[in-house]
């Protein structure tokens, strides 16, 4: 049952998610804020408009799937699940602690509403391809959405899946690339330039659109475009800013996997409120 929220409501939800992302990482004193903040607008745009799920029954068999391949951006995932009341704020604040439903990296066996156990990059699209083939066997029109990072495209397995998705005519498979240009150690351009992702995907047979991954109207338009196309696999390359919304985290590789201290936390809360 898609939510079909409007742009203003989505932007409000994204802000709420950003605040929770910072809160839970600060509470845990570990986690990955940069890639969570870059991804969150796309995630909110997806969950808030077309994604066909039932928050009261997260394991509904014929739901659309959202596969968070960049599993370190788990705070983004948990923040949207909180917005949908699948998990609560207490769960968020237990992030990364012993016994928490909010594991360090997203885990389908620990958290309702999580469709894939990630943590090791490059695997999510392959898993999504399996979900896609299963949907086709079931004659279901459910859609399979997969989010990867641009650094993640350095993993060879991803290209195995990109090739196979076209070979198996997976029109129900949708890829979102959170192109925030930064990976763990440094900028992608300094670690291993991934080049023209749009051209590369197109050369494999994908239909690709490139957008501003923080412009909610553009996001909704692209998500709707991908959701309605069924000819073959489709990809949205979202140009994003790592750490988006918190000034000192933006475009800062050191906040890929670092928690804010108390002073930084307060600055972030002021900037987001």
């Amino acid at each position: 049952m898609p939510l079909k929220l409007g742009t203003k409501e989505l932007e409000k939800m994204a802000l709420s998610c950003r605040i929770n992302i910072i809160k839970m990482i600060h509470a845990a004193q570990s986690g990955h804020p940069g890639g969570s903040l870059s991804a969150i607008d796309m995630i909110v745009g997806l969950y808030g408009t077309v994604l066909n799920i039932d928050p009261s029954n997260p394991n509904w068999e014929d739901r659309d799937r959202f596969i968070m391949s960049k599993g370190h951006a788990s705070p983004a995932m948990y923040s949207i699940l909180n917005e949908l009341d699948i998990i609560n704020e207490q769960d968020l604040m237990s992030f990364r602690k012993l016994g928490s439903v909010c594991q360090g990296h997203v885990d389908m066996n620990w958290t309702n509403g999580v469709d894939f156990s990630a943590g090791s990059l490059g695997m999510g699209l392959s898993f999504g391809l399996g979900c896609s083939l299963a949907a086709k066997l079931d004659n279901s029109n459910r859609k399979i959405w997969v989010m990867v990072g641009d650094g993640e495209t350095q993993e060879g397995q991803l290209w195995e899946a990109i090739m196979a998705a076209v070979f198996h005519s997976c029109g129900n498979l949708k890829l979102i690339v959170d192109k925030n240009r930064i990976q763990n150690d440094d900028f992608v351009s300094k670690q291993m330039e991934v080049g023209d992702l749009k051209g590369k995907l197109e050369s494999f047979g994908w239909v690709v659109r490139e957008i501003d991954g923080h412009d909610m109207e553009e996001i909704c338009d692209a998500i709707n475009w991908a959701n309605t196309g069924i000819e073959g696999p489709m990809a949205i390359i979202a140009n994003t800013i790592k750490g988006n919304g918190v000034s000192y985290m933006e475009n800062n590789p050191s906040f890929h996997g670092k928690a804010p201290n108390i002073e930084e936390f307060q600055i972030a809360m002021e900037e987001l409120s």
Partner: protein
């Protein structure tokens, strides 16, 4: 005994079982360009709509299988044993950790695969998959047992790895005795009181032959087909180690981490009796005929006989 029922290769049993399982509409087959070798090709020929070619891309195959399993399908994914290892971390993180019911078959395992040489001879697969929580690890003796055990995989609550082999070996089972096979339960093929030979895969028929030779010398050697390395049938090991007082393990696999290790680990916690291990002794193989290689690597029938005598001598 073993020669009475002819020869069979366990990969053929796997291929036959897939066809037998096809009535279940959730069974799907995944191939990585080796369907003709692993024998999933028979299923492909009859059920192409439920067979997915993933190409020469084993890492992708493992996670595609996981995605299918998460959506209620029962994926049977096969390639060579050695190439499953290319996807080890995918199996670890994508299949075993979420406990998805993916059944992996690695064919052409062990030095028994012969002339292709050491690159193809996986002698560590059973060890590495045994370390993964949730995994069931199986290595059948022949085609009849491979077929029967594959049929039982669909009732498991988690993933599995089964190693099959390329070449035919003397059968240890018949269509009557295959009913004795249960995943997780070792199967006593010969009784004896002096030594128990615990074996798997191609070493089962060799162990039976060794037991016959030992009998001629007045030594009664029991033989247990321990087709399931995990979960290990510890109760059966206890019964027979107490009865015989010493053990020989025999496997076409490294003595590090495989059946011998599993038995020795258990033995060290319970009834400490001598254990002699027949297997690959921390070296890589080479090209050659299977039987020549077994001679070369001290894994022939005569080596099992000697190990039995040595184990008895250590009591």
């Amino acid at each position: 005994m073993s020669s009475l029922s002819g020869n069979g290769a366990s990969r053929d049993g796997y291929g036959d079982a897939l066809l037998n399982l096809a009535n279940n509409p959730n069974i799907v087959v995944l191939e990585a360009d080796l369907g003709k070798s692993t024998k999933s090709c028979h299923f492909r020929n009859k059920f192409p709509e439920r067979t997915f070619s993933i190409g020469i891309a084993e890492q992708n195959m493992m996670l595609v299988a996981a995605g299918l399993a998460s959506s209620g399908k029962i994926p049977m994914a096969s390639t060579f044993a050695i190439f499953t290892e290319r996807g080890f971390e995918q199996i670890r993180n994508g299949i075993a950790r979420p406990n998805l019911k993916v059944h992996i078959c690695g064919s052409h395992g062990g030095i028994h695969t012969g002339s292709d040489g050491s690159s193809a001879q996986s002698v560590e697969d059973l060890a590495i998959y045994r370390t993964l929580p949730n995994m069931t690890v199986i290595h059948p003796a022949d085609d009849i047992s491979a077929e029967e055990l594959t049929m039982q995989l669909v009732d498991l609550e988690g993933p599995s790895y089964m190693r099959t082999i390329r070449n035919k070996v003397p059968r240890s089972y018949t269509n009557n005795t295959k009913q004795d096979l249960i995943i997780g339960k070792g199967n006593v093929l010969m009784e004896g009181e002096d030594v128990v030979i615990i074996c798997c895969g191609v070493m089962v028929s060799k162990s039976i032959d060794a037991s016959i030779l030992l009998k001629n010398e007045g030594i009664n050697a029991a033989v247990i087909d321990m087709h399931t390395l995990k979960p290990l049938d510890e109760e059966l090991i206890d019964t027979w180690s107490k009865r015989c007082g010493c053990i020989v393990t025999a496997e076409d696999h490294s003595i590090i981490g495989g059946l011998g290790s599993a038995v020795a680990e258990h033995n060290s916690r319970t009834n400490l009796v001598p254990v002699e291990m027949i297997g690959v002794k921390d070296i890589f193989g080479q090209s050659g005929d299977s039987e020549e290689l077994f001679e070369e690597m001290s894994m022939a029938i005569k080596d099992i006989v000697q190990a039995a005598k040595k184990s008895i001598g250590r009591k």
